[in-house]
Symmetry: C2
């Protein structure tokens, strides 16, 4: 890059830069990893490359299925142009099986299949530990309009449907994942942030092996190998 | 009582006994008080009498407005006959202003009015600390059918409407309250448990003074006096 870019936001795993076009941001993916709301910190070599490339491939797949995403153009192995959006202050989690925080919160065995996908709303606030809320909280507190809330859930379930089917063809079960949404100046909603082993649980269908950040969270070893493996499967399944 | 009754359940504030009629339980209200999921324990003299009488009066008021409740007949100042129900494993909280756990959970100032009543779902499980969930969790995990979930929310909002209006006439603002629901053998839903200063936040409209268990939780003093005062207002407003 010749020009000096203004850093708009630096998160745990990404930096976001402004560009000359006010409608466009550039995202840069880092190898830094955190877990448990920043209590655990580490580094996963090559993670930024996997997460950038995988997110972009999956965003394109979603666009092909009618789901609007913030993806514009991949610039390099770690850099991508995306729509500049006003982010909703929520994280949406879609679950197909009980795992992670839902298992501990409700005292239910990890791996229990759900009769239908479960959509969860979290308040995006690091200082408060991103607490679970509900669609009703988001509406009553004015974070989203009722129309936006319905659209968020519709899009989240559509993403689940598309990704679950695609990943099953690659021998991977989509256990759960987190989405973030933003709105453009016209009020249209887009899936934003990333879709990667940092934000999804991927279980190998044949072996049950975890191919995601739980290997880092739970000190299971083979972290880099898992990221490489899931990227290999996604890349194989989606022509560039 | 001449007969020896089978104790079916003993909670923090009540005992529930089986009776000769399988469709009827007897509830006995105690003066024991706990807060913060049992971490704080104490005794509020006369609380059981206030909670029994107030719950019964308010249940009758709700019945007059078409809300089914478990109330059958007051037997004494601490004892009441109620329908024997299968309880739903949830606690429903309706909020008109931000207070208590919602304030701390979301980092919002206590007392902030809500644009519309907020219905919250909690998983009733002492060992897990009665965690917040959502209507979606209750449906997907099979605790309630989608029809029951809708009916629970409809009844909770109806209770809020009736109680809020009645209490306003007594100079009391209904800030929030907890409900529990049970179903009979035909699947009909009823408001159960109690409606009392243990389960509601009552604020004096003129002074803002708390007339509820927050005086115990927060060591504000005047606990017994507050229970007596709110009971006086409810009794005055509702002919026996």
């Amino acid at each position: 890059m010749a020009e000096v870019q203004e850093l708009r936001y630096e998160g745990k795993a990404k930096r976001v830069y402004a560009t000359a076009d006010p409608g466009v941001f550039e995202v840069e993916y880092k190898d830094d990893a955190t877990a448990f709301n920043g209590q655990k910190r580490g580094h996963i070599a090559g993670k930024g490359v996997v997460n950038n490339r995988m997110s972009n491939r999956l965003f394109r797949l979603l666009e092909q299925h009618g789901v609007p995403t913030h993806f514009i153009e991949e610039l390099s192995e770690r850099r991508t142009r995306v729509r500049a959006l006003t982010m909703l202050p929520v994280e949406i989690v879609v679950r197909n099986r009980i795992a992670g925080s839902l298992a501990s919160r409700l005292g239910l065995p990890e791996g229990t299949p759900l009769a239908q996908p479960l959509v969860e709303w979290y308040y995006k606030n690091d200082a408060l530990g991103d607490p679970l809320v509900s669609r009703a909280h988001a509406e009553v507190l004015g974070w989203v309009s009722p129309q936006e809330a319905a659209e968020v859930e519709r899009l989240a379930l559509a993403v689940n449907h598309v990704l679950r089917e695609f990943l099953a063809q690659q021998g991977v079960e989509l256990v759960d994942f987190k989405l973030e949404f933003g709105r453009d100046s016209a009020g249209r909603l887009y899936v934003a942030d990333e879709i990667s082993p940092d934000t999804c649980r991927f279980w190998d269908v044949a072996t049950g092996e975890k191919l995601d950040k739980d290997r880092f969270r739970r000190d299971l070893g083979g972290v880099e190998e898992a990221y490489a493996e899931i990227w290999k499967r996604v890349e194989r399944g989606l022509a560039p």
